[in-house]
Symmetry: C2
Subunit: 281 residues, 2 copies
């Protein structure tokens, strides 16, 4: 086997990861002023690339940042990284910060830091898709919900508690309505229809595709406020994420959702999404 | 004049800033998982160093991080940086992150990134201390208020709006009670007594000293909830911060506080604090 020296794309150049240096004065470090996006490969090719790049630019806009490359320049950089880094399937992380700040406060959107990393893709155990997973509810709202910022303070602080509870993630709510999971979109099913928060959440790339598949299957999809009690009282629930796809959620905290088993609508959407993945390339 | 090559302290070594490299995989960048503290020099010597180091360790605890050096090791590193970097007066920034994360999610508190930067100290214009400043109120609560995390998303997003309004900072509140400014502590004065939020805010190093000076002057100091309407209806208000000291606040948004001039209690505390600075070293 040949050994692979991992490379990344940093400010216009492909460099060995070991030689890639971010300044300690970067405002992404000093003030957490940064956005990112994460996409996956399917059969080794970037999946939903255009959607992820559109979302990255939306996130940048929300913080007054600018992505310094065109979509095709980014696509080429990703192609080169994937060819060099030799993953089976990869996640591709695009990171954009406000760049260096000599005084730790000011920065210019015209001199950003932009880099692309790849990671070997890690899958959830198959049992989660068969039996369903659990979320811990947590009163919290992300600071700029429409942007995928690098701020994951709450998720990381509760990481051990999530693991100890055998949960997959946190489900954020404001005391009366649900928003999104810390690292995924969240949907509930009632009487065969699918309900999702209409705003105050990050636009989900996989979530959006899955809702489209649901609509094509004749499912009613309702975007609007989703009461916390309606989440607890749902027939079914599921989350969607780039790395995990469609994941059935059968428990919130210590409460079962429905009868605690994976329901037929969730199963239908999991299969529809798997079919899209199989038919890609 | 000899030219100074700025140095910083990074993971145990004093290095030229231009050679200091943070990994693109640092969780402080990828997930904003980091805390910091900022102290100032007085006559070239670190001021309130023990208090700032205690606060840094508290911030680290809140995120499950560990400062990897003793207070005396940090004090020595600061001394060496100040000697090399040749500031008139400096601010000294201590930054602690969870270190490198190969998968962009997990990290070990035992392999943190820790660095120390110095900046030339910048003062507010004298006119602000003579005539008072303005704050813009903003409904917001920091995610981990007891910790000085690197998350300044809201402050930086509103930076242009703050500047355009001729304001100094944002005053965070929850709709009914005030908390703190984005980068300072906030106090109100009513009938000669000083009122400050008792919790849900960062412990202020200068603020704590100023409250002690006020108590020594025979002032009543009340720590508890401070209603937003009581801030608007106060006789006087002021903020405290490491870099700015005691700053009179005479406007919230478009409303005058009191008669819109710097009041006697604020002036008394500004003078008491200046006396401490003059008597230091």
């Amino acid at each position: 086997m040949s050994s692979v020296v991992p490379h990344l794309f940093l400010n216009g150049r492909i460099v060995p990861a070991s030689e890639a240096a971010i300044s300690p004065f970067d405002i992404g470090l000093l003030r957490g002023y940064a956005v990112f996006d994460l996409l996956r490969t399917v059969n080794g090719r970037p999946f939903l690339l255009a959607e992820h790049l559109r979302r990255l630019r939306n996130s940048a806009d929300a913080l007054g940042l600018k992505v310094p490359y065109s979509d095709s320049e980014i696509a080429s950089a990703i192609d080169e990284l994937l060819a060099r880094n030799g993953h089976t399937e990869a996640t591709v992380r695009l990171v954009l910060t406000g760049g260096e700040s000599p005084d730790g406060l000011s920065f210019s959107a015209d001199t950003p830091t932009f880099y692309i990393l790849t990671h070997e893709m890690r899958l959830l155990p198959a049992s989660v898709y068969e039996s369903g997973g659990k979320l811990l509810t947590k009163r919290h709202r992300r600071e700029v919900p429409e942007a995928k910022t690098t701020n994951y303070l709450t998720m990381l602080r509760y990481h051990d508690q999530i693991v100890d509870a055998g949960a997959l993630d946190l489900l954020y709510h404001d005391g009366s309505h649900v928003a999104e999971a810390a690292s995924a979109s969240f949907y509930v099913v009632k009487d065969g229809a699918i309900f999702a928060p209409g705003d105050g959440v990050l636009w989900g790339t996989v979530g959006s595709l899955v809702l489209q598949l649901a609509a094509e299957n004749g499912r009613e999809v309702v975007l609007g406020e989703v009461a916390l009690e309606d989440a607890f009282g749902a027939d079914e629930a599921f989350l969607t994420s780039t790395t995990r796809g469609v994941v059935p959620i059968v428990r919130l905290d210590d409460s079962k959702i429905g009868d605690g088993a994976v329901g037929p609508v969730t199963r239908e959407l999991m299969e529809a999404y798997e079919r899209v993945l199989r038919d890609t390339l």
